[in-house]
């Protein structure tokens, strides 16, 4: 097998893209669809094994309690029960999970099952395995666990206050991480300002994308080889293996991750390594395959939530013309009971420090606390969504306070297209984009010119109409080096993804990817790229469905997350295909008696002599010669394998951990949304009556697929802005544990959605494309802004939360001054 690893050197230059106009940029129908529309997809719960046991987790009913007694005797006595797994066994057989956080918080112990103590409602305490799903549940009900309840910590803002109960005995406080971020010269900016706008408190709420397929796995253990095969819907096997290997005290090759179809992920399926370890232990203990399917209520109470965040004592220096010089704030992020992927969220936001704005002076005191709530994990727009919502709230509150037009103040502060590539105050490089143009397009979509007329019409119907704008930067292709800013001891940096492309004995082109798609159409877009490079049809290209870490297409960061497939995944596909093309041309030249590969070309599945197209060698013959008839090849061509593996490595460098400075990610797709709401002032009930979303993710490999991502991400943020929220009571009980009380938008809830796109090619990527898919967050800002605008005529309340269900809007209407008292302006 021939292999190449390429790392472009700095400074980054525009790469030649050799792909001729062909299938790239075309709406090629999806390869995935045929099986999925027939119900022939293979999702994790569809996997069955002989004698498979079904696992049910006994979960904590308490948010915070000591476990005083566990008795499983009645459960194991039940006929059909194969066995149980307890925390004490886990503690004896595994090491606690590796912690990203530096000491002292990094000393906390996180195991696959609760050991001695439970820290959130729904935390797995005992695993029970039985012959059927129902029996496992019956047995779980027979497990007796005694608890000694402890004070529940649920208030993010005060979780680290003195005297508050401590979640983790090994860590000295509930503060997981704290850091000061100081960019530009904030004090000078403050001195220079004509006005300073102050905001006491903003709150970004808990929710998650709640993929319709919950987490799950079928785990098999091979006693002969000591190797586990994990059929799961984990969306980041690279990370899971890094976490699980040390915990299980085995080498990584003992953990084979397999998945075909995954029913949505959105980041929520990254941190399932915890349950997977419990399943590995059970499979080994019981000597049989085990199936675990998380139920919806379990997903809501114990799967990863999006990070909750409060923004305190916000200070914004502004010139009288509306030019904003930066901001200062204290931010407290709530990661829930455990740090499964955290505290990475404490740095990820910094990829978009100034948002889409030319804010040069920033001072942030960022800390993260743990609370007795479900652990957080990446959720579509991870950590940037919270911060970008903050930047958009800031600009609309400043506009409101200074009586400036929301459109004008944005255009005055947007980073300009002619400034691209733009280096932010903390050293991130925005590759390309034209935010002002996207805004104009978005306003066109909602016919902004007619707003005042529509406002009057709404008033005549007793309704308050409001318009709002939101933005997101969908930063993609992480530089994992940013992890060293939260913990300098970490040995993570850069990023990578793998693809192999081979020409088989019958001339079949087969592609394997390292990614774990959950609807992102990787089979289709990969085939488009390969087809263009090899001058064939996408139908001629077989892209293996799903992921298998035993294919040789797996690297440390393999997975599907952080908006990067169009860059890393397709970058790898392009690299491997170019290697294969070169080998095919060599074989062709040799067989067709050409002097060099310059004299031959590809077309229609043949290598042809340019001077005589009649002289053509079919791919099938190439494949046959190399794989089954290679004695005919001259010796110098014997190293050709027609099986090419390429690792795409983005041009990342290590950041400066002292200054918390450096380029943290490669590409920046952006979205500008505009939204129109109508509020019933009598009830606080509102409708989104018009909605426009403009997306710019550079060159679009398949526009229809990109638009689908935009629509879906937007729907999620509209859901989050209106009704989706994880609410806990003071005892740490989750009050929205299912789709009854956690209302996700259905077809009637969705507003008329209009979309359009701009294509600002990325100068930094193989195809000019940018990763995308996480850009929906703009909806949270647009809805908040539209509500604040609508309520101008009703006491001018300030919207300070990202969660705005009807009752909150009614509260704003009842007591506008309460929210207004949170903001003030200092004249200079």
């Amino acid at each position: 097998m021939s292999e190449t690893t390429v790392t472009p050197d700095r400074p980054i230059t525009v790469e030649e893209t050799e792909t001729a106009p062909g299938f790239i940029g075309v709406n090629v129908p999806r390869k995935e669809d045929r099986r999925l529309v027939q119900g022939e997809g293979v999702f994790v719960d569809d996997v069955k094994r002989h004698g498979m046991a079904y696992v049910h987790f006994v979960r904590s009913p308490y948010a915070h309690a000591a476990i005083t007694r566990i008795d499983v005797s009645k459960a194991v006595a039940l006929e059909g029960v194969y066995g149980t797994l307890l925390g004490e066994e886990v503690a004896a057989e595994t090491d606690p999970f590796f912690q990203i956080a530096p000491p002292p918080a990094g000393e906390l112990k996180d195991y696959a099952l609760a050991v001695g103590k439970v820290r959130h409602v729904g935390e797995p305490v005992v695993a029970v395995a039985a012959a059927t799903r129902e029996l496992a549940r019956d047995a779980a009900d027979l497990v007796e666990v005694d608890y000694e309840p402890l004070e529940a910590v649920v208030d993010t803002e005060h979780a680290a206050d003195p005297g508050v109960a401590q979640l983790h005995d090994e860590a000295p406080s509930n503060t997981i991480w704290q850091g000061n971020f100081d960019y530009g010269d904030y004090d000078a900016a403050l001195a220079e300002a004509d006005k300073v706008v102050r905001i006491k408190r903003l709150h970004f709420h808990r929710f998650s994308s709640t993929p319709l397929e919950t987490s799950g796995a079928v785990v098999e253990y091979n006693r002969g080889t000591g190797q586990w095969t994990i059929h799961s819907n984990n969306q980041f096997p690279g990370f899971a293996i890094i976490m699980m290997g040390p915990a299980l005290k085995v080498g990584m090759d003992k953990l084979r991750f397999v998945s075909q179809d995954i029913g949505g992920g959105f980041g929520n399926k990254i941190c399932t390594h915890v349950q997977l370890v419990a399943l590995c232990l059970l499979a080994r203990k019981l000597k049989r395959a085990v199936n675990w399917t998380e139920w919806r209520t379990d997903q809501h109470t114990a799967n990863s939530h999006g990070n909750e965040r409060v923004f305190l004592d916000v200070e914004v220096p502004v010139r009288s013309d509306g030019t904003m010089l930066g901001f200062k704030a204290r931010m407290i992020d709530d990661c829930g009971a455990f740090t499964r992927y955290e505290p990475l969220g404490c740095i990820i936001w910094a990829q978009v420090t100034p948002g889409v704005y030319r804010w040069r002076n920033v001072r942030v005191d960022f800390s993260q606390v743990c609370t007795n709530k479900s652990p957080c994990g990446p959720n579509r727009g991870y950590s940037r969504m919270q911060h970008l919502w903050f930047t958009e709230r800031v600009i609309d509150i400043v506009a409101e306070q200074l009586g400036l037009d929301p459109v004008e103040i944005r255009k005055r502060n947007y980073i300009r297209a002619d400034e691209m590539p733009y280096e932010t105050p903390n050293g991130c490089v925005y590759d390309s984009g034209d935010y002002a143009r996207c805004l104009d397009d978005a306003l066109k979509l909602i016919d902004y010119g007619s707003i005042e007329t529509r406002r009057r019409d709404a008033e005549s119907r007793g309704k308050l109409l409001g318009v709002g704008i939101g933005s997101t930067l969908d930063s993609g292709t992480n530089n994992f080096g940013q992890s060293t800013i939260v913990n300098p001891e970490l040995q993570f940096s850069g990023n990578n993804e793998v693809a192999t492309v081979k020409l088989d004995i019958f001339g079949e082109i087969v592609v394997t990817l390292g990614t774990t798609p959950q609807g992102q159409s990787h089979e289709t877009t990969a085939a488009q790229v390969v087809a263009d490079l090899l001058q064939v049809e996408p139908d001629d290209v077989t892209v293996r469905a799903g992921h298998d870490s035993y294919w040789n297409s797996h690297a440390g960061f393999s997975g599907t997350y952080a908006s990067q497939f169009a860059v890393t995944g397709l970058g790898a596909v392009k690299g491997a295909t170019e290697m294969l093309r070169e080998e095919i041309l060599k074989i062709g030249a040799a067989v067709l008696g050409a002097e060099s590969t310059e004299e031959v070309e590809l077309g229609g599945g043949f290598v042809k002599r340019k001077d005589n197209p009649e002289a053509a060698l079919p791919f099938m013959a190439c494949g046959a010669i190399v794989n089954a008839n290679n004695a005919v090849l001259p010796l110098e061509l014997r190293d050709i394998t027609l099986n090419c593996r390429y690792v795409y490595v983005p041009p990342h460098q290590l950041p400066d951990t002292e200054r918390k400075y450096g380029n943290l990610t490669l590409t920046y797709a952006n979205q500008i949304h505009a939204c129109v709401v109508e509020v019933d002032p009598e009830t606080g009930v509102y409708d989104i009556v018009d909605y426009g979303a403009v997306d710019d993710c550079g060159i679009r490999i398949n526009p229809q697929i990109v638009e689908g991502q935009v629509q879906g991400a937007t729907a999620q943020s509209i859901g989050a802005a209106t009704h989706e929220t994880f609410v806990y009571d003071e005892d740490g009980n989750l009050l929205t544990p299912n789709f009854y009380d956690y209302h996700v938008p259905h077809a009637l809830d969705m507003p008329p959605m209009k979309t359009s796109s701009v294509e600002s090619a990325s100068p930094f990527t193989p195809l000019g494309a940018k990763g995308m898919g996480e850009g929906g967050g703009a909806g949270l800002s647009a809805v908040a802004a539209a509500l604040q605008n609508a309520l101008q005529g009703a006491g001018r309340p300030i919207v300070t939360s990202s969660s705005n269900p009807y009752h909150r809007v009614w509260e704003l209407l009842q007591n506008p001054d309460e929210s207004r008292s949170l903001v003030s302006v200092d004249e200079r």
Binding site: P61, Y62, V121, D141, P149, T297, D729, E730, D731, N733, L735, P737, N738, Y740, D741
Partner: protein, 172 residues
């Protein structure tokens, strides 16, 4: 969930007090009691089958008397565990003599966790309120019986339902 209320009985304080201190009579007051064991004068244990319209909720409840000031004040903790639910109830009452009868000021703090919680507060709150009303009505009956069956409670005389009689606040 916190509940509180005032109730009046046309019976002497001792009568009411005795009922509230007698495990056997308490068993008669509580809904769906299947078995009731007295472990000692401060600890009782009951297996109940609370009838909900859609099927009954089985629970085993451990009672512990926390405080007592005969004949007027008592505080009780009840911890219940069932398949779908986990209950923790702390309740107290104060009896005072009021124009020939007895006035009872009571408070209860009920916490419910477990899968039953997934049914939603809109359902749980009314169900808890309802069970409380059943207990209080049963208490009326016990008092009436102790008074020789003749005299019944003021509330009943006026033909008002306990729901109307009670004034209580349910808050999160």
């Amino acid at each position: 969930m916190k509940l509180e209320g005032e109730r009046r009985f046309d019976a002497p304080r001792e009568t009411v007090w005795n009922i509230l201190q007698d495990p056997a009579q308490m068993a008669a007051i509580m809904p769906g009691v299947e078995s009731f064991d007295v472990e000692d004068d401060r600890h009782w244990k009951a297996n109940v089958k609370i009838p909900l319209g859609l099927g009954s909720l089985k629970m085993s409840i451990n009672f512990e008397k926390l405080e007592e000031e005969q004949p007027e004040f008592s505080k009780l903790n009840a911890k219940g565990t069932g398949v779908g639910a986990l209950m923790n109830l702390v309740t107290q009452f104060r009896l005072s003599e009021a124009d020939g009868g007895t006035a009872m000021a009571w408070e209860a703090d009920v916490k419910i966790a477990g899968p039953v919680g997934s049914m939603g507060q809109r359902v749980l709150q009314p169900i808890v309120n309802q069970q409380v009303q059943l207990v209080l009505s049963a208490l009326d009956a016990q008092v009436a019986k102790a008074e020789g069956g003749g005299a019944s409670t003021k509330g009943a005389e006026e033909g008002r339902s306990p729901l109307e009689e009670e004034s209580y606040s349910a808050d999160q």
